[in-house]
Symmetry: C2
Subunit: 250 residues, 2 copies
DNA sequence: CGCCTAATTGAACTTGTTCAAGAACTGTGG
DNA sequence: CCACAGTTCTTGAACAAGTTCAATTAGGCG
């Protein structure tokens, strides 16, 4: 059994990055006290008056909407450096909840608007973040509208792997702090389907479980192909050959 | 057989509105020549250098992404007043194509940035539009992740009905300029499923076909309930009673 | 009026869901 | 440190919603 090269995960995304590295917007929050949230605690609820904006210092947040009969859709997971509560509405249009223990800083909306609006360096930065968020939302629409369950899970793992490798934890176990239910509600699937596919990916040797909340990506190229990112690989004969070879790793 | 009141469609959305009505951003485009696109013509392709921004003067555009093996996802339909090509990337990340005959105006990105960035009235307007776009994207994620085929089609019709009624064509035939394939690719369904559900809605008297590209919404309240907008109706005993009554219109 | 594409309709099938156990991790307390 | 309890996760079998494939019908435009 072999191990695929890790480079496959490298990407040229301009991710928010750890706080401080080119994150001018962090300056708006820097003087605020840190607040702490235990897993499961809500930072705010859908419908609350949208009085504040938050920046995550540490931990992971899930952002979701609920429709009628308890169906939940997680629209995103937010990581250190990300902003929460951006919206020009009177009320938040989603709930934000801690997945792990979370530390964050808060500023009032008026303070934030004032400070960003007055700064010619901060403005484009905020704008760029909104664009990134929009891009992510569109990718998610593609995933939800047209990808199979396996492609969804593979895409999800890949996204997480890329974020992690961008943040230097390049090697070993990849943290999956959220539960299977969170993943399901993010991917538009059920718990059971997510579980079955994780199992299948494991038994095929694409990933390896490392406890319930961490995995190792053993075959990043294979994962990219399974994610159905028509990108390049789909038409690249080398990658395709590679995939054929990788189909039977055991 | 009765007809439900039309008020059900009224909404307090701050939609872009027809050009001119509170659309300061139109001023950026006003001096540009109108360009015309025939149905099916692309305004730009995913991957093109993102050199320009556009404002729709007339007609409807579809914006979509393609993955690998020709699967298409329409991420939105754009109407007069809407901006196209907003994005901080070097390249467009989706294709924009005329659904109907379209008239639009174009400005270079640098010109747009310059003009908007220099204006304290335009900036928040642009920001508000991005927020609206983000909100729409999130609603679409909810639709795609957790709604049934019938709920998706009902939601879609409702959205169109609301846009139309906001624009004063309050009464009769609602234009559906896109094909069934467009609807399917927007709703994450197949042509056949969309067709079946349109037929079912018609036979139940919720809507009435008026040629292939127009319908009349006969029972707006029923449509709202079918759309599964947990909003209020789900818990409002009156609306629920109304829906029970309306289940058997024939 | 007639052709051509788009839309409808039916039947078989597939993917993912639902329902129902059972297994495994986490963390708590003895 | 181990055992227990509670939850989360996995696994299987039956089911259902939507897809696929294959005609058929209906619009719309020349």
């Amino acid at each position: 059994m072999y191990s695929e090269p890790m480079m496959a995960l490298a990407r040229q995304d301009h991710t928010p990055g750890e706080i401080g590295s080119g994150d001018g917007l962090a300056s708006v929050f820097r003087r605020q006290a840190e607040e702490r949230f235990e897993p499961g605690a809500a930072v705010f609820w859908e419908g609350d008056a949208a009085a504040h904006l938050f920046q995550i210092i540490e931990g992971v947040l899930r952002v979701y909407k609920i429709i009628g009969d308890g169906r939940r859709v997680i629209t995103g997971f937010l990581y250190p450096g990300d902003l929460v509560g951006l919206s020009q509405r009177r009320c938040y249009l989603y709930t934000a909840e801690a997945v792990t223990r979370v530390k964050l800083r808060r500023v009032t909306r008026s303070r934030f608007d004032e400070e960003v609006n007055g700064s010619p360096t901060l403005r484009p930065e905020l704008f760029a973040r909104l664009s990134d968020e929009m891009e992510a939302a569109q990718d998610q629409m593609v995933l939800l509208a047209r990808k199979s369950a396996e492609e969804r899970v593979a895409s999800f793992l890949l996204t997480i792997a890329r974020r992690a490798s961008a943040h230097m934890n390049n090697q070993r176990p990849l943290e999956l702090p959220m539960t299977r239910l969170d993943m399901a509600d993010y991917l538009g699937l059920t718990i059971e389907t997510v579980s079955r596919i994780m199992t299948r990916l494991t038994s095929r040797g694409v990933i390896a479980a490392s406890g319930r909340h961490a995995i190792v990506v053993r075959q990043p190229l294979k994962l990219e192909i399974l994610a159905g990112e028509g990108d390049d690989s789909a038409h690249d004969p080398i990658a395709v050959a590679y995939s054929r070879q990788a189909v039977w790793p055991n």
